[in-house]
Amino acid sequence: MSVTTIIALVLVIGVVGYLAGAARARMIVGGETAKLHSRPGYYGSFILVWATLPALLLLLVWSIAAPTIIDGQVRDSIPQNVSAEQSATEEDLSINIVEAIAGGLRLLDERELQQATAGFVLLRPLLAEKGVALAGNGEDWMIPSAQLLNRLQDASLIWKSIAVIGLSIVGFAAGLLQIRAQLRARNRVEGVIHAGLILASTVAILTTVGIVLSMVSETGRFFTSVPPQEFFFGTVWDPRFANAEDPDAAGQFGLIPLLAGTLYIAFVAMLVAVPIGLFAAIYMAEYAGSRFRSIAKPLLEVLAGIPTIVYGFFALVTVGPFLRDLSGQIASIATGDFNSFISATSVLTAGLVMGIMLVPFVSSLSDDIISAVPRAMRDGSLGLGATRSETIKRVILPAALPGVVGALLMTASRAIGETMIVVMAAGVAARLSINPFEPMTTVTVKIVSQLTGDLEFTSPQTLVAFALGLTLFFITLALNVYALYIVRKYREQYE
């Protein structure tokens, strides 16, 4: 019986319980439901909860605990002389082979099984015939272990089915016995729902805890092989994937060039996004008629809805080559030498395209903030004879400044955490440079490049990605917390 069947059966029992509970409640009062404490449906739900909740909890616990217990027993079954000389990793490898054998044994029929259990040498071709490829270094003791594993798994599944279904039926009966006219069924059921609501709202906290814990633990492992000061203050990024085996060629993991690239590209992006976004927001809030606004604003916001991969592709295929050819033309006019000084992947390309992506963020956030400046301030300034632009420059913007700064900080944090555009358009060479026409790389690009491909979770080459991620998380978190603080403070000013 598979887990899905068990769940389905428990749910069927639950539905039957619902109907039985409602019917029983009606029967107790002889059809006069007004005598009941709650509506009959609540008595049904009461049974439903009793029949399903404990059973499903048991299923969950069993499904989590059983593999660990079985694994322990299988490990105990390893012969003394073998386990004595195996290291922990070797033992893990042997267990993997045992599991593969166990999976293969299930495919064999009675006769083949007898043949196979004689020894690993005989087993291997048999399993290969069934499409199960085994690693070469199997040994004879693994076959009894694999058989033990299969027996334990079968037993676990049978007992799990019996226990879960049994508990479900017991819950059904226990619920049914409790039904009285005075039973406060509604309150009980609502209590369960309430607990569910609380549980759901803790998912947000669990996510944060998960993010922080997982990254902190992996980062801790990274710092055991690379000292933190070398990571945070190192100016050379050279992780040396190829020579990971060679102990002399330890890689260098300097954060500075990555961080510099990240901030530089974000800065270029803000140079593009802030003037366009801010002027667009001012025009929308102060000048545009409602017709114009209702068309232009959603259109501009379409830019925010386009996935970043599309921007990345745009940068890679259109903007990058365009800038490269353009710089070639300029160079040929200026020096007569057709030599493009902007490379196809560069800080400028990535920053420009990211700036386009950020325009709607700046404009809609600032639009809200400018619109929130009280009418009276505007009217006062206009009444004194200031033109609209003077009102905007001297009254509205100074009043909205803290909010706008908050909005810009939030936009900046988005620019720093942006991944796909820089992966496709910024380049992969980690270097310190102030020339925006050259490629630079960012923290996010390196996270992606360290974690795609074959992974080995023990090497600093892989673990460094978590240290980078943690750095990124804290930078964006700090920016956002500060921005939210400013915006909130500003809002209070006018409320």
Partner: protein, 440 residues
């Protein structure tokens, strides 16, 4: 107003001594300039939007047509099953030399001399390697066609496809082109016979990953994305709505709920790639779920979408006027009944809109999926969410790294499809909002 009141004043005094030059002209010019800047900023933003969409569409619309060649293929038993034992050994039909059938048919159609090796090679390279699978599937599905002659449209090679669409510069010297003059001659001959046409590219929607552009499609990616959206919907919607209901309607104002609130706002701003790291560390390393599987992607995207849904749902719940709550409580509903029978149905359109927009963001998200190994070369449809698969935006990313011209076109085509999906979702959200939104 100002002009009208100024003119009589000057004439009455006879001199201009009473009017000071307050620089009105300059101030109005500044005003006009400022206004023009604003308009220019919006125009620039919209220009970028149209440039972006225009360049993608201009490069990608041709991907929906695929050049195909019509051949009268003789399913010759001599070639497919020379020993006549296809009934006993199914490997015979699976490993037969299918390309030879197509090549023979093509030679006949073009009148290629079978002894001229150079011409034969050039003619053969008009055909896609995918011919093998196409003909094999036909024969395996219906072995009775062996020995008969059928008219079949087969795919042309990716380079031929690009040449037929005019994407190669034919003025370049022949040796540096991917298509030589003789092949161009063959193409012309086929086109004159009506045997070479651009046909609607169904393969773009059905094929899996392939290193050959003409047989590469987004079938696996569409299914993978569909699984993930399903998981996001099934998990994020109930959890998000439940969390919002608790925070908005039940939660006491204390330190814990404050922490949750700040938390949710911050989670909404965490870079998506950090969620990828979380998925890698928790779901794959710790919980032992398979890499590259849609289920992990779905879980990661669920966590990412949750804050969006919670924020939208809370706004929708807040918009329901307190009088409705008071009325429900007044006629004796419990708090739970008030929420589930009255407030939630009234907030449903807003919740739905927020959910659809959250799903659209999740559908376009790439970075976290790269980290959990969805950049895999998957040629077969995933049967369950636990099988390796890929996703629409990841497929776009993988194709964008390919150099062939035909892949650039397909990448843009894939982007068009992705944007169409997103447009449909967002338009649905707008319609829902227009239709059901109530203002009290």
């Amino acid at each position: 107003m100002t002009d009208a009141s100024l003119t009589p004043a000057t004439t009455a005094a006879g001199t201009r001594t009473h009017t000071r030059d307050i620089g009105l002209k300059a101030r109005y010019a500044a005003e006009r300039r400022f206004r023009a800047y604003g308009l220019a900023a919006i125009a620039l933003g919209l220009f970028f939007l149209f440039l972006l969409l225009g360049s993608v569409i201009a490069q990608g619309y041709t991907a929906f047509w695929q050049t195909s060649i019509q051949l009268d293929i003789n399913f010759d038993e001599e070639v497919l099953d020379p020993d006549g034992n296809r009934d006993s050994d199914r490997m015979v039909l699976l490993t037969a030399n299918y390309p030879l059938l197509a090549q023979r048919a093509l030679h006949e159609k073009l009148g290629v001399d079978p002894d001229d090796r150079a011409s034969r090679r050039d003619a053969n390279s008009l055909l896609s390697q995918g011919v093998r699978t196409q003909l094999r599937d036909m024969v395996v599905a219906d072995p009775s066609i062996i020995g008969t002659t059928r008219t079949v449209w087969v795919l042309a090679h990716g380079d031929i496809d690009s040449a037929a669409k005019g994407q190669f510069d034919l003025t370049v010297e022949e040796s540096r082109r991917r298509v030589n003059d003789r092949q161009l001659g063959y193409m012309e001959a086929l086109e004159e016979q009506g045997a070479m046409q651009g046909r609607f590219n169904t393969g773009l929607f059905t094929f899996g990953a392939s290193s050959r552009p003409e047989t590469a499609g987004m079938g696996v990616a569409i299914i993978g994305s569909f699984y993930m959206m399903l998981i996001v919907l099934v998990l994020a919607l109930p959890i998000g709505v439940a969390a919002s209901i608790y925070l908005e309607e039940f939660a006491p104002k204390n330190r814990l709920t404050d922490i949750i609130e700040v938390n949710i706002n911050n989670l909404a701003a965490v870079p998506s790639i950090v969620y990828g790291l979380l998925g890698l560390a928790v779901f794959i390393n710790f919980a032992g779920l398979p890499r590259s599987a849609a289920v992990v992607g779905g879980l990661v995207l669920t966590l990412m979408t949750l804050p969006t849904i919670i924020i939208a749902t809370r706004a929708a719940l807040k918009a329901v006027p307190p009088s409705i709550r008071a009325a429900a409580l007044g006629v004796g509903a419990s708090k739970m009944q008030m929420v589930f029978h009255h407030v939630l149905p009234l907030a449903a359109p807003g919740i739905l809109t927020g959910t659809i927009i959250g799903l659209a963001t999740a559908l376009g998200e790439t970075a976290p999926l790269l980290l959990i190994g969805m950049v895999a070369f998957v040629a077969d449809y995933p049967a369950t969410p636990f099988d390796p698969s890929t996703a629409l935006p990841v497929q776009i990313y993988m194709w964008s790294g390919q150099a062939e011209r035909a892949f650039v076109e397909r990448t843009s085509g894939a982007i068009i499809i992705l944007l169409l999906f997103l447009a449909v979702m967002n338009i649905t959200a707008i319609i829902l909002r227009r239709r059901f939104e109530r203002r009290w």
